[in-house]
């Protein structure tokens, strides 16, 4: 551990599509150093190691002094998005082989949607699904013992089928996992070396389809994620000596590399979680704790809500059309970004934006890579919001004529000018974003006017000012650099683990003492993994969560309760807070019995002290940072506007809109009637002029 004489460091690493960002923190002083190197998509650990070499060299730091590496990764997400996961075998209870085939019987698309709906292939195909003859009841009593001999035969038949991971998900296993554990033992004998995920460990909650799908997704991403983490861990050890690698989970907690390899389904939102955590950290440096985060990239946009420094979480994670029951920061994703294609359908002559995207290839027309469809980015180029001098991460060129040509195609269909059509595209895509931000705020009973809006991602700062206007969320905060933001998030989050169990009881059927005994036991389980990471018990903080509902309802609301609080007010206090939350969310409470659903203990390690990099102080006048003049089309008229170089801005500088602020990895648009102020940590705070 650290001594006063020799500083030790922790390192945050975020691997993005283009760049790998690193942030080094001196554990004793909290001082930080950042670096940026190109990503290496084939094997991202190479980029990470390059970055470590770079950051240590630049700051004359001995790599051996790095004790912890914190990492947010999109490996699990990309495995799902690209459909490149493992070939998964599945063991179900007899009679339930088709649990994924039938799923919830849901056909999307509204009335008549069945006419065009085609189901995507199962992640664990039926030809690789076998049944175990066994049965538990809903209370976890054994109704029929496991037929081990038959199971061995069925498992043997799965040999030589090319299966790379096995899932066991038995009916009612949330209530008793004994049969699942026995199936795993047998599977490990029959199929040696096969990674086995069992549902009672991955997600011990009711609802057989959701639990099975979650556990199957775990198996699906597990070989790739664990290989990646293992490689990275051993490379790090080779270069840095004894170092602990931690991975950021979807719910914003850090976990050990072992736990991450074992339950990678909890890592599906690791990337966005880093962004949210980083946005929180940087906004807090400017004194803001109530935030809406807005991360707009090329193909999708993630939004989340943070209240009083805490990101809202939910017990569901969605990646494309895969939904799993794993806790994650409540990040809502809209399938719209800079690459979303605008079009005008023949039948209605309406202007539509998305859901089709030009993606990275061919990308927006303006990128000169052969794209000819008008995208949101092209509209930004046509309007002058995205200047042709933008560097887009260094090497990409922007061709305004190509953007104009693409946008003209929809302008003609609408009978409007190119500028008008482009402004329409921007207004519509902003409306879609607004819809997503409402989901996390208004729909949850929060007033967006009580929140600041933090914008990042390649395209976020271009649209943020307009969204601030729609939401009434001020200030709009543009952090210094979107990439390093995630690395900040990775480096500043806390170690975290949780243990939960389904415990369905009406309030009258249980007691404070019984529930407390369960919670204490869960806390002990959750403490274990932090203790294994060397976090002393004294530095661990415990919080309880109780999911409950009115008996008969389908929803579950999670009530956070501190141990001291539970000791004072017990279950009655929890029930009261449930009523309040129900009223906040749905405008009414019901005179009905409360029912407990799940109990959970969440254990966290200590907070890291980090000092943000400070900008030198300057005056209000920012004219020294103006690099050129340009023309913008905004609110139906063309206006001239300066372009500022972000790197030259100083604390205290004020930028009157309309203006553009350019930097390597993003571009900020400040609208007429608004002013951006640069603060001491380099955030630009945009507010409407008084």
């Amino acid at each position: 551990m650290a001594t006063a004489a020799v500083p030790t460091y922790r390192l945050g690493v975020d691997v993005g599509g283009t760049f790998t960002d690193l942030l080094l923190i001196d554990e004793s002083t909290g001082e930080t150093y950042s670096a940026k190197v190109p990503s290496t998509p084939k094997d991202s650990s190479i980029g990470v190691l390059n970055g470590i070499a770079r950051i240590c060299e630049q700051n004359k730091i001995d790599p051996q002094r790095i004790t912890h590496v914190m990492h947010g990764t999109t490996v699990a997400t990309n495995t799902v998005l690209e459909g490149k996961g493992a070939s998964v075998g599945l063991v179900t209870t007899v009679g339930y082989r088709q649990v994924l085939q039938i799923a919830r019987s849901y056909v999307p698309g509204g009335l008549g949607g069945w006419v065009i709906y085609n189901k995507r292939p199962l992640l664990a195909p039926l030809e690789h699904t076998i049944e175990a003859d066994e049965r538990m009841d809903a209370r976890g009593n054994v109704i029929a013992p496991l037929d081990e001999a038959a199971l061995r035969k069925s498992l043997a038949a799965l040999r030589n089928k090319g299966i790379e991971a096995l899932t066991v998900s038995l009916l009612n296993a949330y209530a008793n996992g004994a049969h699942e554990r026995r199936v795993r033992e047998i599977a490990e004998e029959v199929l040696p070396g096969m990674p086995v995920s069992i549902s009672s460990e991955v997600m011990p909650e009711m609802y057989e389809y959701e639990r099975t799908e979650t556990t199957v997704v775990n198996s699906y991403v597990r070989p790739i994620v664990s290989r990646y983490i293992k490689n990275l861990g051993s490379e790090l050890e080779r270069k840095l000596g004894a170092v602990k690698l931690h991975v950021l989970r979807s719910d914003g907690g850090l976990t050990s590399s072992e736990a991450a390899s074992h339950s990678p389904v909890n890592m599906l939102m690791s990337g966005p979680a880093g962004g949210v955590a980083g946005a929180l950290w940087i906004a807090q440096q400017s004194g803001f704790k109530n935030l809406l985060t807005f991360d707009m990239g090329g193909t999708s946009t993630d939004v989340a809500l943070i209240q009083d420094g805490l990101a809202q979480t939910r017990r569901e994670t969605r990646v494309a059309d895969v939904t799993v029951r794993a806790p994650s920061i409540d990040v809502r994703t809209v399938g719209a970004g800079g690459g979303s294609i605008a079009y005008v359908p023949e039948l209605t002559k309406a202007l539509r934006v998305g859901p089709q995207s030009a993606g990275a290839d061919p990308g927006p027309a303006a990128y000169c890579k052969g794209g000819d469809k008008p995208t949101v980015t092209d509209a930004n180029v046509v309007l002058g919001y995205l200047p042709v001098s933008s560097r887009l991460g260094g090497d990409m060129k922007i061709d305004r004529a190509l953007a104009q040509k693409a946008v003209q195609s929809i302008a003609d269909a609408l009978g409007k000018t190119g500028h008008e059509a482009a402004e329409g595209v921007i207004n519509i895509v902003n409306e879609n974003m607004f819809g997503a931000l409402r989901l996390v705020s208004i729909e949850q009973g929060y007033d967006p006017r009580d929140f600041a809006l933090v914008a990042f991602g390649g395209a976020g700062p271009l649209h943020a000012n307009a969204l601030g206007k729609l939401l009434g969320s001020w200030p709009v905060i543009i952090p210094p650099a979107p990439g390093v933001l995630c690395a900040y998030g990775d480096a500043t989050t806390r170690l975290r683990d949780e243990a939960s169990r389904t415990f369905i009881r009406r309030l009258a059927q249980t007691s404070d003492a019984e529930v407390l005994a369960q919670l204490v036991e869960l806390a002990a389980t959750a403490r274990q993994s932090l203790s294994n990471e060397g976090v002393p018990t004294s530095a661990q903080s415990v919080a309880y969560q109780i999911d409950l509902r009115y008996r008969g309802q389908g929803l579950r609301l999670t009530i956070d309760v501190a141990p001291e609080q539970f000791a004072q007010t017990g279950l009655q206090g929890v029930a009261k807070r449930f009523d309040d939350l129900h009223t906040q969310l749905y405008t009414f409470a019901i005179e009905a019995e409360h029912e407990l659903v799940n109990l959970r203990a969440v254990v966290q390690g200590p907070q890291t002290t980090v000092r943000a990099e400070q900008l030198p102080q300057g005056a209000a006048d920012a004219s020294h940072a103006v690099v050129e003049k340009t023309k913008l089309f905004v609110d139906g008229a063309e206006r001239s506007a300066p372009i500022y170089d972000r790197a030259r801005l100083k604390a205290g500088n004020r930028i009157a809109g309309p203006a553009i602020v350019a930097q390597m990895d993003t571009t900020t648009l400040i609208l007429p009637g608004h002013t951006g102020e640069v603060d001491k940590v380099g955030n630009i705070l945009i507010r409407p002029n008084p």
Binding site: V94, G95, Y96, R97, Q98, V99, Q101, I102, R104, S105, Y106, V107, G109, G110, L111, G112, G113, W114, V115, I116, N118, K119, P125, L126, E127, D137, A138, I143, L171, N172, Y174, M206, Y207, E208, Y209, E210, P345, L347, T348, K349, A350, R352, G424, N427, I428, E431, N432, G435, R438, I504, G552, Q553, G554, L555, L585, Y586, T587, F588, I590, A592
Partner: protein
Amino acid sequence: MPAKIIQRDSSPFKTVKLDSITLDIIENALRNARAEMDAVLFRTAMSPGIREQHDAFPMIANNDGKMVVGQFGSFIYGFVQGYEGEIEEGDIFLTNDPYSCNGAVSHLPDWLTLMPIFDRGRLVSWAAMFGHMTDIGGKVPGSLPTDATQIFEEGIQIPPVKIYRKGQLNRDMLELLLRNCRMPHWNRADFDAMIAALRLAERRVREIIARFGVDEYIAAMAEMLDRNRRAMSAIIKMVIPEKKAYFEDYIDDDGAGMGPYKVACSLWREGEVAVFDFAGTDPQSQSSVNFFLNEEMFKMFLGAFFINLFDPQILFNDGFYDLVEVRIPAGSILKPQRPAALSCRTHMLGRIFDIMGGLLGQGAPEALNAAGFSDSPHLMYSGYDKSGEWYQLYQIGFGGIPGRPAGDGPDGHSLWPAFTNVPNEFLESYFPLRIAKYESIPDSGGAGQHRGGNGVCIAYEFLEPGEISIHDDRWLTYPWGVNGGLPGARSTKELLRNNGSREWLPSKCDRIKVEEGDILFFNTWGGGGWGDPLKRPAERVAQDVARGLVSIDGARRYGVVVRADFGVDVEATEILRRQIAAGRNQPLPLFDRGGSIEELKARCKAETGFEPPSMPRFARWITAPERQAR
């Protein structure tokens, strides 16, 4: 006399010229509002029927009551025309009476709530939400008595009443209603949830108006309706020929031993108007299988069908209603006269989709799907458990989506929007039930180039003595295949008693007593096949066999010989396919119903174990010539 609408400010809305992009934004905002209404309802409702299965539907309409977003089209205009009284801010209406709202809801369990939305004293919109209540009283638990002959036996009837008057809940009325229901706490929570959804719509509409202005809002709704009309006009001209097409289909029986009941429909186009004429449809039944078909709702089914085929991005609404004319003979099974019983209308309601598909497909082959899972079969199970507590389950089953031009029909899925099944772990946790099996039935999907989806077998093991009701259909007639595709398998219900004896249960029955340890096999039907099964790639047939969706025997219907290791026997397959092809008449039939009604009846006893239903007899007051003339 139409209702009197009381507005504090009755000044007319100004005509404004609306920018088309503002229009698109308002459209998106309304779309979001509707999704939010659903979210609130599903999360706070209590009955499994609404909270898990989503048997509930929202709507937002313009100030004239025309649906702008929603699923099933608007009845509000008709309601306002028929309501004698005043309508003012803060009022919320409740009704479940099909005869009072021209079939906007079609049986009593569907409770419909309706709220005018005012902005600064002016009526600007309407919001509505309806949901299926688990029980509304009447002679059997679940309130769908198969043998009812009058609506009075089917539970409490609520003509349109102000359940909220100027913002004040009419508690006496609500308590009276709940007193008549077997599961009052569910009804109460579901009712609260529907009201919460309406209030949410109201807030959203007011927010949109605050952003864009009230005149702009009104203009946007008008333009959205008009845009829809233009799109539908183009589609109708493209797809519906002037030449008359005819199609008929059936529900098998009325639960009282008579059937099948015929629905006949002709379709042609006159100028830009499509005419659907149900002349030739059987008169109303004397039992409860009548379906009060609202013409507007039928139009909406049509619109939804088209829009999904031609441009799923369109937000469909009421705008095209004058482009479709629907003629339904009064006194027919689709327009029964009060007090005909209506509770078990679900089969006929579902069958409308098959009718529509069969009609449209004749003019537009790209729209021709096989017969699908055109029903919502129900299981009811109720009684007192060992602790003396009343339990009552109402559950909707799912089956095979048909083979379609788009591809195979999914197995065990829902034809209805938003519906989902109830997780079996939930059932086992809250009801005295064990679900021993939950699987699709191999070979039940009709063979075809695109396979029909399989039906589902659910094995319910009862853990307490109680009573069950079953509501299903297509046990006699087949879900037909198209373009050479074969029909899907029919439905069956088998009860395995705890003493080992087995019995078939009819497709529609009430008050069947069950004991602890009895197991019911509830087998739904499969979707019909699309296209010539001999054209389905043999490897795909073999893959279905490996997946347990088609049996080795069943593969032979595709002319494919699959070995025990699930490989294709190529040589044997070629021979078999040649043999089958040689034995068929060309061209292959457009529709394959698995036999005429007479043939099906003749084989009925041997194939199903039941006597065939007898020819329906109709009430004389319905079939009398002077009535027919009216």
